[in-house]
């Protein structure tokens, strides 16, 4: 139990794979499979998708990330590992959520290109080499768009709605964030802050940070066509995610612009009501029996409270900002594009929050 309590992810050193991983040369591709919902036969999944990679002539490794919940489903992988297939299983000590699972796998991945593959069938296997090729040709992230689609119109409507909500926000668009099949440079997954359910929006987050994102058409897998209707709570959570994404992408560094706008509108309306009533009072009309006065006061104070909350946000951002950088340097195929010696080689091409040029700011 101590492993669970410490909360540290433990990695099962499957003898064969562990040693292979250390001694074999760097593979071209690391396929990361977070094992969560809708478990299918992982062995089947592995065979189908790795076949396509093999025939494309690339070397690869697979990392399956599991939470304690789904441990049963990885038992089937043991046979494959014993047969010498390049599989590693990374086990989280407790339930950590899919974003953290991806981060955990990214820390263990050795491939030149990472592929994130859901633990169920989304697109046909031949799409994987295509996506990898897109990254090898210079894109930072290649998102598989399920196209043409063969599933129920209801599924498609859901995709469409999620889409217009998500991509209506940042200016450039990704046409299928829901496919979940993506190939990318390792630094994209390592550097973009991911938590909660934001892994879904990885292509959108990558666009926001200035990575180059391409989308490739991938035929939908025949087994992805089942009608999916979720309980209302799931849609609710999705809606909250989208709102969170909207807020964070616009106001992370300026909370007062958001809270201040709401607050000024509210307190403005409240003030208007109060002023009108004050003038009426001067004209001799009584106040104490008019509930409108209560509404005016309520709206006004609500507005003040919203502004106050925004100010607290500003203080927090102000202190946080001292160690962060809100920009990211451009890079071409992983190399910085800047010219001039200091900008060239000291590894500053990472995410803004990691940039500490010349060690001046901790």
């Amino acid at each position: 139990m101590s492993d669970y309590e410490s909360g540290s992810p433990r990695q099962r050193a499957d003898d064969t794979s562990g040693i292979r991983a250390k001694t074999s040369p760097q593979p071209d591709v690391t396929v990361i499979v977070p094992v969560t919902e809708r478990p299918v036969s992982l062995a089947e999944l592995y065979e189908e998708y790795s076949e396509a990679l093999k025939s494309s002539g690339r070397t690869f490794e697979y990392i399956f990330v599991v939470e304690p919940w789904h441990q049963g489903s990885v038992a089937v992988l043991r046979d494959l590992v014993e047969r010498g297939e390049p599989i590693r299983v990374v086990e989280a000590g407790h339930m950590i959520g899919e974003s953290a699972m991806l981060k955990l796998a990214a820390g263990n991945a050795r491939g030149r290109t990472l592929v994130v593959l859901p633990a169920y069938h989304r697109v046909v296997a031949t799409a994987i080499p295509d996506a990898v090729a897109a990254v090898e040709q210079g894109a930072d992230l290649a998102n598989c768009r399920r196209w043409p689609r063969h599933d129920s119109w209801l599924n498609r409507v859901q995709t469409r709605i999620l889409h217009s909500a998500v991509t209506g926000l940042p200016r450039r668009t990704v046409r299928d964030v829901g496919s979940g099949v993506r190939a990318m440079r390792p630094e994209v997954l390592r550097d973009i802050p991911l938590y909660g359910d934001f892994f879904r929006f990885l292509p959108v987050l990558a666009l926001r940070d200035g990575y180059s994102v391409v989308e490739i058409d991938a035929a939908q897998h025949p087994r992805d066509t089942a009608l999916r209707v979720y309980p209302p709570g799931v849609y609710m959570r999705r809606a909250i995610d989208v709102f969170g994404l909207f807020f964070l992408s616009r106001f992370t560094y300026k909370p007062l612009r958001f809270f201040g706008l709401i607050g000024s509108l509210l307190s403005g309306v409240g003030a208007l009501i109060l002023i009108v009533m004050f003038i009426q009072r001067l004209g001799g009309q009584g106040l104490a029996d008019r509930p409108l006065l209560l509404l005016g006061v309520l709206i006004f104070t609500l507005g003040v409270q919203a502004i106050a909350l925004g100010l607290i946000g500003e203080i927090i951002v102000h202190f946080n900002a001292q160690g962060h950088r809100s920009y990211r340097l451009a890079s071409e195929r992983g190399r910085p594009e800047s010219v001039g010696d200091a900008a060239g080689g000291d590894g500053n091409e990472g995410h803004p929050s990691r940039v500490t040029p010349q060690g001046r700011v901790p």
């Binding site: 612009r257 106050a308 951002v317 001039g340 010349q358």
Partner: protein, 317 residues
């Protein structure tokens, strides 16, 4: 590669200024004597040929450097990027559209040597539209001076000279480039001076700002006031707000007592309007007080984690 760092770095954030790069480099080269300087041009994700033009200039002249950002992050972030990669002991920031004249740079540096940490230019004979540019900027400067207590005539002028030591003490984020003097004084305790500088009308390219920024500036102003006055003790400000709310609540309590001398009757509207208002104000006071406490926690955490809320004005050796 390992040549010694130059004494002076000129930082210029640019966005879609391909038409101006060549004349910018030329103007700087003509204006600054000697070769103990570098020109750090930060390309803020331009969509035109700006980046290629800067690369060309950098190939021809080793003193020109390009810092390329991954996308358009805004002027503040671009400027911070330039500061981060500038190597000089003295850093000068400037607009990329040649509205500032590099000829003024030596005068800024001379003023800096008089014992200041930050020298800010103010534009004389400004070549801009009156209604959309000059008037809003005049009002904004007045408000900024009033709120922050830092008397700067022209916050919108990018031409400024900084000591490296002062740049290391604060980080620009959001749209804070408009409030650099106020930030520098409030956060880093900078000694600030002002000198008049030339202003030219835009020669090429388009202006990237319009009237839409008024709301942004206003909300940033509130934020800067918060940070400059209460960053070390947010509870003071919120406590003040709570006191005012509570006072109004008390006022309504009195009104309630006065307006119902004969006692409450449940069929009369004023039996609930005034008492409810009393509750609203007291709730608001309570809320603000709690918010102030959260603010204290935020500040305290940062102080504990090693970042300083104050800075040392100078150390004698």
């Amino acid at each position: 590669m390992n040549e010694p760092a130059p004494h002076l770095s000129i930082v210029v954030p640019v966005y879609n200024e391909s038409a101006n790069i060549r004349s910018l480099v030329g103007a700087v080269r003509d204006a600054i004597p000697g070769s103990d300087w570098e020109l750090v041009i930060v390309d803020d994700g331009s969509e035109d040929a700006t980046r290629a033009r800067i690369k060309q200039a950098a190939e021809v002249d080793g003193r020109v450097r390009l810092i390329a950002l991954a996308r358009n992050f805004g002027q503040t972030a671009a400027m911070q990027a330039g500061f981060d990669f500038a190597r000089g002991e003295v850093v000068v920031s400037m607009d990329g559209d040649l509205q500032n004249d590099p000829v003024d740079i030596p005068r800024l540096l001379a003023k800096l040597d008089d014992g200041f940490d930050l020298v800010v230019g103010y534009r004389v004979a400004r070549q801009d539209r009156l209604i959309t540019r000059k008037v809003p900027s005049w009002i904004a400067n007045r408000i900024i001076a009033r709120l922050t207590g830092v008397q700067i005539r022209d916050n919108g002028c990018s031409l400024k000279a900084y000591r490296r030591s002062i740049l290391g003490r604060f980080v620009l984020y959001s749209d804070m480039h408009r409030f650099i003097p106020a930030m520098a004084v409030a956060v880093a305790g900078a000694r600030v001076a002002e000198i008049p500088v030339r202003h030219h009308p835009r020669r090429a390219g388009k202006s990237k700002y319009g009237l839409s920024r008024i709301w942004k500036v206003l909300s940033d102003l509130m934020a800067i006031k918060m940070i400059s006055s209460f960053r070390s003790r947010p509870l003071v400000m919120f406590g003040l707000g709570a006191l005012v709310s509570a006072a109004i609540g008390l006022g309504f309590t009195l009104l309630t007592l006065l307006s119902v001398p004969g006692g409450f009757r449940s069929d009369m509207a004023y039996a609930y309007v005034f008492p409810s208002i009393v509750i609203v104000w007291f709730t608001s006071a309570f809320y603000l007080l709690l918010l102030g406490l959260i603010g204290e926690v935020a500040v305290r955490n940062e102080t504990i984690s090693g970042r300083t809320v104050f800075s040392v004005a100078g150390e004698s050796t």
